[in-house]
Structures are given as structure tokens and as C-alpha cells.
């Protein structure tokens, strides 16, 4: 069982709902975003880079099979889960941020200050926080907590707290465009495997050799 994600760029409408779902469910404080959706080529999302050209690209942790972040982590805090997701052990991370330099996709986010302090900037009533409210351990390792401490790195976990219970990640459930799919890459008959083959799927930065398990289906070209 090797879990993978497929994102269909034809169906992606660039609404950023997945950004917000991810942020909300994973209690990310202001200025921290694990998931990003932008308009390639453009200085501003939803502004076309040129008349006649516009599509949208969501990017988060690619859960690489050959993850440079895992290789560089001096204390083994970044590790591969049983199903292939790349997770961070919040008990182990020393905050050296080597992984942030190593990641070619720029997906890792550091807690520069106490997240509670960052949350305070939102000025919610009575110290309210959003987010999945419980800690979660995968294989005994702490991979999610509602308020991380300062000084450690975090990133997309494919919502380990949900997947380990058989539920889909927040970005998949939150996508109104139905553009995201999660499935078993080892099974040639799974939806994701079929889509990857039939729709000419590509990965980001293949030349870096990271072997991402997030695949993109290109948007349909227009006739001329």
C-alpha cells in the first residue's frame, strides 16, 4: 500500500478552499500556510499572467519517496509513515531547519514564535483557537497537536489525524471542485493509478529526483 494523491488541474478552480480547510483543520496560526494555491506565471492569484492563459496550481508537501528532508534531519524527526506519508515527530524535532533548506518545494513552515501568540493577532474572543482539538500519534510518534510549541517545523501530514481513522484529508473533503483524489499507487486498478496513466500525469520538479507521491493531471488544452 503506497498512498498517493492526484490533483486534477482541469477541475481545480483555484478557489483556495483547500488552503483554508488545511489551515483550519490543522490549527495553523496567522502567516503559516501548509498548502498554497497560486496562478503559475502570475504576480497575483486569479490574475492571468497573459490574456488567454490561466490555470491554478495547489502545492503542499509532496510526500516524496526519496525525501531530502528525511535524509537531512539530524535526529530522525522526519520519517515515513507506514503508508508512505512523510511525517514530523513533534517530540523529536530540534528546530535546526535543515529540512527547510533541503525541501525543493518550500512546503515546510517553522514556528518562529509561540503559536498561541500568533493566534492572538487574530484577536478572537476569549482565546479561541480553531483546529482538530486532540493530539494524534502515529506509531507512537506525536504527529499532530492542536497547538505546537515554538521552535519546531511543521507541514502537511496528509491529515494523519484523519487518515489513521479512515477519513480523507481536509483538503480532499474541503475541495468543492472535486479535484483531489487519494488512493493506493501500488494498486494498478485504483482510481489514482488509472488517472495517472490515462491523463498524462506529471510531478513537480521531477529532475530533482525526489519521487513525489502527489501527481498532477494537466488541464485540458483549448482548440485553436
Amino acid at each position: 500500500m503506497k498512498m498517493g494523491m492526484v490533483i486534477d488541474l482541469e477541475k481545480c478552480i483555484g478557489c483556495r478552499s483547500c488552503m483554508v480547510a488545511c489551515k483550519q483543520h490543522n490549527a495553523q496560526p496567522p502567516e503559516t500556510w501548509w498548502n498554497r494555491v497560486f496562478t503559475p506565471g502570475s504576480h497575483r492569484h486569479l490574475t492571468p499572467p497573459a490574456k488567454g492563459v490561466e490555470y491554478f496550481l495547489p502545492v503542499h508537501c509532496q510526500h516524496c519517496e526519496n525525501a531530502p528532508c528525511e535524509k537531512v534531519c539530524p535526529v530522525g524527526a522526519t520519517f515515513h509513515a507506514k503508508d508512505g506519508a512523510v511525517l514530523i515527530d513533534f517530540d523529536r524535532c530540534i528546530g535546526c531547519r535543515y529540512c527547510m533548506s533541503a525541501c525543493p518545494y518550500g512546503v515546510r513552515q517553522f514556528n518562529w514564535e509561540e503559536p498561541a501568540k500568533a493566534h492572538n493577532r487574530s484577536a478572537y474572543q476569549e482565546k479561541y483557537h480553531y483546529g482538530y482539538p486532540e493530539e494524534h500519534r502515529h506509531d507512537g510518534r506525536l504527529v499532530y497537536m492542536p497547538l505546537r510549541p515554538k521552535g519546531i517545523v511543521e507541514k502537511c501530514t496528509f491529515c494523519a489525524q484523519y487518515r489513521d481513522k479512515g477519513e480523507l484529508p481536509a483538503c480532499v473533503r474541503g475541495c468543492p471542485g472535486k479535484a483531489r483524489f487519494v488512493g493506493d499507487l501500488d494498486d494498478p486498478n485504483s482510481d489514482v493509478s488509472k488517472m495517472i496513466k490515462a491523463r498524462d500525469a506529471f510531478t513537480l520538479l521531477p529532475e530533482k529526483g525526489t519521487k513525489p507521491t502527489v501527481f498532477y493531471l494537466p488541464p485540458k488544452p483549448k482548440e485553436v
Binding site: P40, C73, P74, I94, M100, G106, K208
Partner: protein, 409 residues
Amino acid sequence: MSVTMKRTLWISSAIFLIALCFWFYQLWQGLILTHMVNSYSWGLYISGLAFFVGNAAGGLVLTSSIYLFGVKKLKPLAKLGALTAFANVTAAMLIVLPDIGKPLRLVYLALHPNFMSPLVWDVIVLNLYALASAIYLYILLLPELTGKLSWLAIKVNNPHDFSERWAKRIAPVALLFAIGIHVVTAWIFSTQGARDWWHSPAMAPDFVSVAIAVGTTVVLLAGALAYGTGRQYEEAYRTLGLIIFMATCIHLFLMMNDLVIHAWYGNAETHRIMEIAWGDFAWAHIFEVAAPFIGAGLLMLPAVRRSLPLLALSSGMLIAGVFVHRFLIMPAAYNNIPMTLTPLGLPNTHWSLPIASGRFLPGMSTFLDQYSYTPSLVEGMILLGILAYAVFLVVLAISKLPILVKENA
């Protein structure tokens, strides 16, 4: 102890204590007190690591050359070399501490090391180098650990011979480590395919050549400050100046080599790097090339070497140039956003995916593809404090131990 030395000790310890306070403040508030952001996640501290490692390498290169290649006239500087090596390599390890988000967890380096990680190699190799330079220093000091210091001496039959013999034996190991710490430190950066600015095979040899240049300069400067620029040291300083100049030329050659290849082939990443490097940082790059070259060149002149102020100035130029070189490891690496692609429908353009900054930047977008990093006061003070520590250690050792060779041997 001279008045100068006493004053130096007082000032450097004061600076160190102030820096310590700043570090405690940073421990309390978090690394938000630096000016780093998610898209620019290493800054002055790691530049400091490279800087101090470079300074450290020189010490044992010099010291082992004396015993390996028999350059006897450098002997008065041997212990000073080992001392500056030890001071700088420990400073290198210390400057990393404030960069760690959760320093109490560093024990995991011992409990759960990941041997694939160049950082682990660096920790190992820096510690071994600290040990090696300490041992080496001890061996070199052994014959003179008499009188009040005899309690420090291990009991051997003929300390002088013992010292010579072991110094010779350890020399190759020391040389290996001296080169090694900079190779491994370079590997921290150059193994990272995500950062084109770093990902070059030339980085390790380049770091080594810089290390030899600046490390030797540190010893030269320390020596000149300790011994003066009298006639009896002329030969020694001339040799050092030659080493420094050659190493600097090799360093500049390796840099130019990289540049020529990339400029000629001219792919997208190169253009972006060049834009970043020669855009905001044009003057810095000119300085990092010119200062060491001019400094090293000046040090080739006997007149400069005979004049302590001029020697100090030239050394200072080279060291400053190398420091800027270390600082410049970061901007082109972080402002050349690695997730850059050619958008569909727009061939021949390149676009970078902005990164969420992770901190409040008034008036700026959260999503950055460019960030103008300048160190914060906290970062600057802490770096200064570590520098003060190295100076303090060297001066204290000189005052308490027979580091310096007496005039009448």
C-alpha cells in the same frame, strides 16, 4: 598580564555576557527575534558557523604543516595555531546553538542520530576537531607544563621528545580533520539539490581554500598581535603570507570557474541567481572578491608585514571579505525560490511559487518570493558575543598557559 590583555578580557567577557542575555531572551520569545522567515530560514547564525569553521581550519593546517612538512620557522606559532583552532571550532559549535529551535533536545543528536544527515557528520567532525585541537595543543604544551602548571602534565619520561613524536604522529590526522571540517561543512550546503546556489561540486574545495586562507590569516593576525612584527618573525610571516595569497587565488579561481560555466551555459536558474547576486548584493559580491584579494596581496608585501597596523588592516580586510562571503551563502540560495517552474502556455518564462512567511511582516504580503534579509539586533549581538568568546578564550589561554614562545628560547 598586560593591561591590553586585561582590558580585552574584561570587554570580551562583558560582550559575551550581554550576548548571553540576548540568547536567553531569544529562548523565551523564540526565533521570531531574528529576521528570518520561512522562505529565508538560515541567516547570520549559520553564516557564522561557516565563518568560524573556516577560521578554525586554518589553525591546524598551519600547525600540522610545521610537523608534517617541517616548516620550522613557523614553530613559534604552532601552539597559537592549535589554540585559535580550538577557540574557533568551539565558537562554531556555540554559534549554532541559538539557531536551534529547541536546544534542550540536542541530546537527541546523541540518542537518535541520523547518519545520512550532513549535519550529523558536521557535529561529529567538529567535535572530533575540537578534541583533536585540544589534544594537539596539550601535546605541544606538555614540555612547558612545569612549575605551577605541572599538575596539568601527564607523567612521561621525556616530555619534549614525547611532544615532538606525538605531534608528528597526530599531524596527518589533524591535517585531515582540518580539511575535513570544511569539506563536511560545505557538504551541508552543497549536497542540497534544492538550492542551486549551493549545489556545486566546487563548494567543498572552495571552502577548503577559503579556510586555508582565512584560518592562516587568523593565526597570522594573532601571532602579530602577540609577538609583534620583529625581524625574527619575518620568515614565518612571509611563509604565512604566501600560503594566504595562494589559497586566496585558488579560492577566487574556483569561484570564477563556477561563474564562467554557469554564465556561459546560461540556464534559467543561473540567470535568476545572477540577478539576485548582482542585484541587491552587487557591492557585497565585489567586496567579497576584492577585499580578500587586496588583503592577501598586501600581505605579500614585506613592508606590510613589518608594520603591525598595516598587517592588521590587511588581515582584517581579508577576514571581513571572507565574512561577507559567508553571509552571501544565503541570499542567492533563499531568494532563488526552489519551487520554480515554466507555466503551461508560457514557455520561456519562469515563475516561483511564493512561500508563506510564518511571521507578521507589516505592510508586506504573507506570501513571499523575495525577502531582503538583514540580521536583527539580537542576531548581531549574539554573533558578536561568540566572537568575544573566542577572543576571550585565546587571550585567557595566552595569559595563563605557555602558548607563546619566550623571546630567548
